[in-house]
Chain length 249, copies 2
């Protein structure tokens, strides 16, 4: 059986476009409806209560677009609102990005003897958003954060934020080439593919590519338009707006 309906992707901003790129690379025929809550994001500096309210309103909008699955591309939303969004979306599957700390737990379950080191690299998000992804200052900041990890003798580095794929070159420059980089945007796309196959809900038809997708934001500020181009590699042609008033109606 085939399900022609689109997949919804929810984020507080534009970082989730890196997840869309991986989905489109793995499953070019699937259609996407993306919503980035740029009027109220980033959620990282908001209270859990406000993040829950905003994410539920965004999930409600995506549900109204007749989606067959919802992908949460924000770690913050996954951490504080995944269960509430699942309650709201009773008839379709919801998958989240991997939560902070969940990497470590999952690895210990699979391989109890493995050593895991983790490091929050908060300044790398504005670096990616400034479009300074491949610059000396990005390299200096990445080096500052990763020095200890590299020194601990790691052989694999998990990039646990949807902004980090924009900094791949920088990470590769900073860590030795024997260290494998694992991208969480790709993991999320792989999880989605697996679930669509289990449900027998893949789209059967011609590949549409990014041109057949819809990208909505709640505020189309100039920096949002610029970053939509940057994060999608120039592939987003039209950015649609849905206002907060429309979301909460």
């Amino acid at each position: 059986m085939s399900d022609q309906r689109p997949v919804g992707v929810l984020d507080s901003g534009l970082g989730g476009i890196t997840v869309v790129r991986e989905i489109t690379r793995l499953m070019p025929q699937e259609r996407i409806v993306y919503l980035g809550d740029t009027a109220r994001g980033p959620y990282g500096c908001k209270s859990d209560e406000l993040t829950r309210k905003c994410s539920l309103e965004c999930a409600g909008f995506l549900l109204s677009q007749d989606i067959k699955m919802l992908v949460i591309a924000s770690n913050t939303v996954t951490a504080v609102a995944l269960e509430l969004i699942r309650d709201l979306c009773r008839d379709i599957p919801v998958i989240g990005t991997i939560r902070s700390g969940a990497y470590t737990n999952a690895i210990y379950i699979l391989e109890p003897g493995m050593k895991v080191f983790s490091k929050e690299c908060s300044l790398l998000i504005p670096v990616a958003e400034e479009g300074t992804g491949n610059s000396d200052i990005a390299r200096a900041i990445a080096q500052y954060y990763l020095y200890e990890l590299v020194d601990s003798g790691i052989d694999c580095l998990i990039l646990g934020c949807s902004h980090y794929p924009l900094l791949l070159e920088v990470f590769q420059d900073v860590v030795s080439s024997r260290i494998e980089l694992i991208d969480c945007a790709l993991w999320t796309a792989v999880e989605m593919q697996g679930m669509l196959e289990v449900l027998d809900a893949r789209f059967a038809g011609d590949a549409g590519g990014l041109a057949q997708n819809y990208f909505y934001v709640t505020d189309p500020a100039p920096v949002v338009r610029k970053n939509a181009g940057l994060f999608s590699g120039g592939l987003i042609k039209e950015l649609k707006t849905v206002s907060i008033d429309q979301l909460t109606k």
Copy 2:
């Protein structure tokens, strides 16, 4: 004549607390009502239209607190909404932070032969907010931005953002000690003092200090509480909340 009413201070976040500190240093007896729109800020990445809507709602709340003057502590709000806020606050004076580019124009008017170089240092805002203000990475980022300016032989550096006073030590380390640092939070407080004196509206009474001031935010997220302590030097004891629903009622 004396005017016992408080002064309103409006910001999209907590950076404006550096302006409150300067006001309190210069005029310890004046009372302040501060509102930081943390539920919808930072405004820097929002459209002008949304910034105008949000700032007018915030100004309306401060007006309802019976203020004698409104200080806009955000460059973004000053740039896009100063005139609209003046229209709203017809009976009281409104002063803004100095707009981007306005420094250069003002200097050319006063001293036409002077050379002015300017540099946007956008990554320094998250550096200040991360509380990494006095660290190696802050110094590396400041150096990256200021290298060219210092190399141009400047003898004075204007810190044109309300977050920069939190990075004073770093700036002083990076630029030579013969370069004078000028802080825009202090300038704003000086302008306010001058205007209150012209209007004969200074508060006549005992100095209350920061304890007599009210600090409101629209979302009391944990990082907001942490930064309120950081930005005020631990002087804010209570952070009050006014929700967006209350603002727009």
